[in-house]
Symmetry: C2
Subunit: 112 residues, 2 copies
C-alpha cells in the first residue's frame, strides 16, 4: 500500500504530451525533458508512464511515429501530432480549464 506516490500528474499526461508536440516532432526522451524543463522541474516524467502513454495515443490516432536520428546521433522514434491529435489537444485543454474553474469554485466556497 505505497501511499508515497508523487503522483502530481493527475490524468494530465496526455495533454502534456500533446502540448509538447505542438512545437514539432519530438522523441519520447525529448518530450520528457521538455516537460520537466518547461514546468521548472515540477513534473517528473517516468519512462514507465511515458512510453505506454505514447503507445496508446498512437493507437488512438492522436500521434504518429517515425524512426529518425536524434541531435546526439542516436536512433530515436519521432512522434508528431495528427489533425485528430490537434483537436484532442484543444478538447483536453478546455477540459482542463473547466476542471480548474470547478475546483476553484469549490475550494473557494463557503458552507451551503
Amino acid at each position: 500500500m505505497p501511499e508515497s506516490r508523487a503522483d502530481l500528474l493527475k490524468g494530465t499526461l496526455d495533454l502534456l504530451i500533446l502540448k509538447a508536440l505542438t512545437f514539432g516532432p519530438q522523441h519520447g526522451y525529448g518530450i520528457a525533458r521538455w516537460l520537466e524543463e518547461s514546468s521548472q522541474d515540477l513534473f517528473q516524467i517516468e519512462e514507465g508512464s511515458l512510453y505506454p502513454a505514447l503507445y496508446r495515443m498512437e493507437k488512438r490516432g492522436w500521434i504518429r511515429s517515425e524512426w529518425g536520428v536524434s541531435d546526439s546521433n542516436r536512433n530515436a522514434k519521432y512522434y508528431r501530432l495528427t489533425a485528430v491529435g490537434q483537436q484532442e489537444m484543444e478538447a483536453q485543454e478546455s477540459g482542463w480549464g473547466r476542471l480548474v474553474r470547478a475546483m476553484s469554485l469549490v475550494l473557494g466556497s463557503r458552507p451551503s
Copy 2:
C-alpha cells in the same frame, strides 16, 4: 473501450470530499449535493465513486463516521474530518496548487 467518460474529476475527489467536510459533519448524499452546487454543476458526483472514496478515506483515518438522522428524517451516516484529515486536506490543496502552476507553465510555454 468506452472513451466517453465524462471524467472531469481527475484524482481530485478526495480533496473535494475533505473540503466539503471542513464545514462540519455531513453525510454522503449531502456531500455530493454540496459539491455539485458549489461547482455550479460542473461536477457530477457518481455514488459509485463517492461511497468507495468515503470508505477508503475512513480506513486511512482522514474521516470518521457516525450514524445519525438527516434533516429529512432519514438514517444517514455522518462523516467528520479528523485532525489527520485536516492535515491531508491542506497537503492536497497545496498539491493541487502546484499542479495548476505546473500545468500553467507548460500550457503557456514556447518551444525549447
